[in-house]
């Protein structure tokens, strides 16, 4: 049971979002722009992977599985591939640019001041734009919020990871803006 009476039995962030729709709206709109909008040179898979990676560093079971499943959906890969990236992205078969961005995201997860000039310079030398670096920092920062919201209220999360995989296609089709927490 969650720390407070959410007046619903929805899992993860959907519980407090249904409890407080006024705050759910801008949170979902932010997720839409960061993760789902097509106006972005980072792929949806890359952006979801940044969110899943930060969530795994923050030990948030719900978020890392929701967004790991989203990344898996877009990458058209299996769960092992996502788990490998979360465990050690440096040896995973992903682009050097995504590795550089995950490195920046990992620093943001610890705290903004952990991001070094060298990390940014390196990301730029292998082709990351200022906008991509901006979005990486903000996605990592936003998940530092979402993860704390979910776990700080002690919401429950389905333990069967297949549950998250089964919902990914629907979420990919519908996006986050205006998403109904009851569905």
């Amino acid at each position: 049971m969650a720390h407070i009476d959410l007046q619903n039995d929805l899992p993860g962030i959907r519980g407090p979002m249904a409890f407080r729709p006024e705050t759910a709206k801008p949170l979902n709109e932010l997720a839409e722009i960061l993760l789902h909008s097509e106006n972005n040179s980072l792929t949806r898979g890359e952006r979801e992977m940044i969110g899943a990676y930060v969530s795994s560093l923050n030990d948030c079971f719900f978020c890392q599985n929701v967004h790991g499943a989203m990344a898996q959906h877009y990458f058209e890969c299996d769960m092992r591939f996502i788990d490998q990236i979360k465990r050690d992205y440096t040896t995973a078969p992903i682009s050097d640019k995504l590795k550089a961005l995950l490195s920046i995201a990992g620093s943001v997860q610890k705290g903004g001041k952990y991001v070094t000039r060298e990390q940014i310079d390196y990301a730029k030398t292998i082709g990351a734009s200022d906008r991509e670096i901006h979005d990486t920092v903000l996605i990592a920062a936003a998940f530092s919020m979402f993860n704390r919201y979910v776990d700080g209220l002690d919401t429950w999360a389905p333990q069967d990871r297949q549950v998250y995989i089964d919902r990914a296609a629907m979420r990919a089709a519908e996006g986050y803006a205006g998403s109904n927490p009851h569905k």
């Binding site: 407080r20 530092s144 704390r148």
Partner: protein, 103 residues
Amino acid sequence: MVDDVLGDMQHSGIGEKLKALLNIAGKVQILGKEVLPEDIDAARKHGATDREIHDTVLIAATFCMFNRYVDGLASFTPTDPAIYKAMGERMKHGYSLPEPIKK
């Protein structure tokens, strides 16, 4: 007063309810799982509602985002306290930003 709270909120002149909510916010800042049932119980004992506890957790979580956004991009940070006083005056009226100065 604000510096007292930031320095040592337990010995500052704020109410017990706000102390209990700041305790929860401080736990959220470390990580969500740090918040324990006894932290919630203490806030309830001093009259905090579920909605107030919800908002405390979300405000703390939101600032974990804002802080990382600001410092993760190494944004320009004025050090003159007078500048923040002026910002406080402006933000009393809400958070919509003024037009940025065009370079």
